[in-house]
Amino acid sequence: MTIIAFKANRAANRASNEDDPALAKSKVAKFFGRLALVIVILITLFPIYWMFRTAFSNNRAMFSEPLSLLPVDFTWGPLKRVLGLATPAEALAEGGSGASINFAQYMLNSILACTLITVLQVTFSSMAAYAFALLNWKGRDKVFSIFLIALMVPGIFTLLPNFILVKDLGLLNSIIGIALPSMFMTPFAIFFLRQFFLGINRSILEAAVIDGAHQWRIFRTIVVPLAWPQIITLAILQFIQYWNDYLWPFLVGQSEQSKLLTVGLGIFKSQTPQGNPDWAGLMAGALVAAVPIFILMLVFGRKIVGSIQSSGVK
């Protein structure tokens, strides 16, 4: 299957359009096909645009013009409000709640927790993947398949005992408590990297062994550099995943010092008064939480799309 994935990627990345027989030739078909694609793209982008539009609207003024496609009474107020830069009076004047919310702090917490998880998890998982892919030892494949079983266990099943464990360790309301269960490894990360390590030409490694290099040196100086693009791709994917995670950080991180962005958003929404919600503030908070992902997508888009595409055929 890997060969197919490789072929698929190569075919997908091929720039020449016209000689691809899968592409439609007829002008009419082309017109309607592209039209349909444009509609899909509009449906995809509109809610995201609406988040921007609302985040820069005056929450009070917005109620009179729900259909306005542009921000209503353009203002930085909602962003200031959620970043803790507005005084309660300013917030109330624009229809905020006046309660203190600090997404800047949550942003910092999210960056800390996700960086900690990603760096450690990817490091430890690549070490494990090396042992599973490139070292010869008895029982290797058995142990690997035991690790893979963990992929099948639904998150909520291990979440309950893990919560009790983290609570007993006294790590509730701490970044380390949030990071703990996932920072050693995930079966997915090991599986992902093992696939690439298996493709590494073993004769290079054998030669290094003969030269007397220790396994750790081979790993550090040969395998990691060779697989670096894949390791970075995995790191990005995992970072995004933990950035977006909700339930676990919601259970473990409730204090201001450990609340992640998604958790802050959920709580912000539940605190907003029923009759007169601060939609602009809520969307501004959502924007703050989403912008780092947009930036990652702009910088690493090709990598992310490529990795997801190839995961389908494996």
Binding site: K7, A12, A22, R140, T158, N162, E206, V209, M283, S311
Partner: protein, 313 residues
Amino acid sequence: MTITERKTSLHRDIAPQPTVRKGRRDSQLRAAILFLIPASIGFVVFFAWPAVRGLYLSFTDYNLLRPPTFIGFDNYLAIWSDPVFWNSLKVTLQYVVMNVGVQTVAALGLAVLMQRFTRSMVVRGVIMLPYLIANVIVALVWFWLCDYNLGIINAALDFFGLDKVGFFGNQDIAMGTIAMVNVWRHLGYTSLLLFAGLQAIPKDVYEAAEVDGAGEWRVFRSVTLPLLRPVLAFVLVVTVVGSFQIFDTIAVTTGGGPIDATRAINYYIYQRAFERLDFGYASALAVILMIILAGVALLQNKLLRANESDLER
């Protein structure tokens, strides 16, 4: 190191020298153990042990304050006669069918559209975008779009003289709304997976179809779909298993309501554990969910295997 030495060692793989090989294996075993230490800690402490503990807790009465007391199958018996559990199973199934059904068909359509009409990386990036945004954000944005009083959708319905719809507030359509919100989030991702599958279909098949004068629909039905079936089966396993575990969207929008129209199984487990501190009961529910998911995966794996012959072309 001399050349001859190098040669003999290279030959080791072809002509086995048991003693040397064994030595190398031992040293590699030692290295493997060292390389696996951190990951094994993670596996044992945060996957294996919790799994065993979760299974044990499912046979206990445990509220976090007092130590768990063993009560045998009582939790399971109670679940069997718990109407809230059966309802949560029902609404979860409704969600899975609506979500996976619409999503798969739409994603297939979009994948074919991309394959037939564009090779743009930007298009692929854009349609993927919702998948990279947190569930919580997606849920909140749609909650706002669908708001009864001020949301753009209801404002537009109102503008055209139609009745407003309580997308999240009406118990008959709340689950449908949540299903469609997550279709929006997963459509691009799913269609990219399928698109990759489409790209793996040999080009000459299309050339042949073109020569034979087959139209779009015919090509899709007789060429694309049969050759895509293995990838489609894989995508179904992933999406169905994922769908069963719906939580975030419900947690930040309806909270299980109205009444219990959106109290999916995962949300019910959460409520039992963390709102009612009934960890034993919640663990038993989690065991049942795991068994259901294993069943689904097995069933679909069979489907996958049955389709494997399609790959041999």
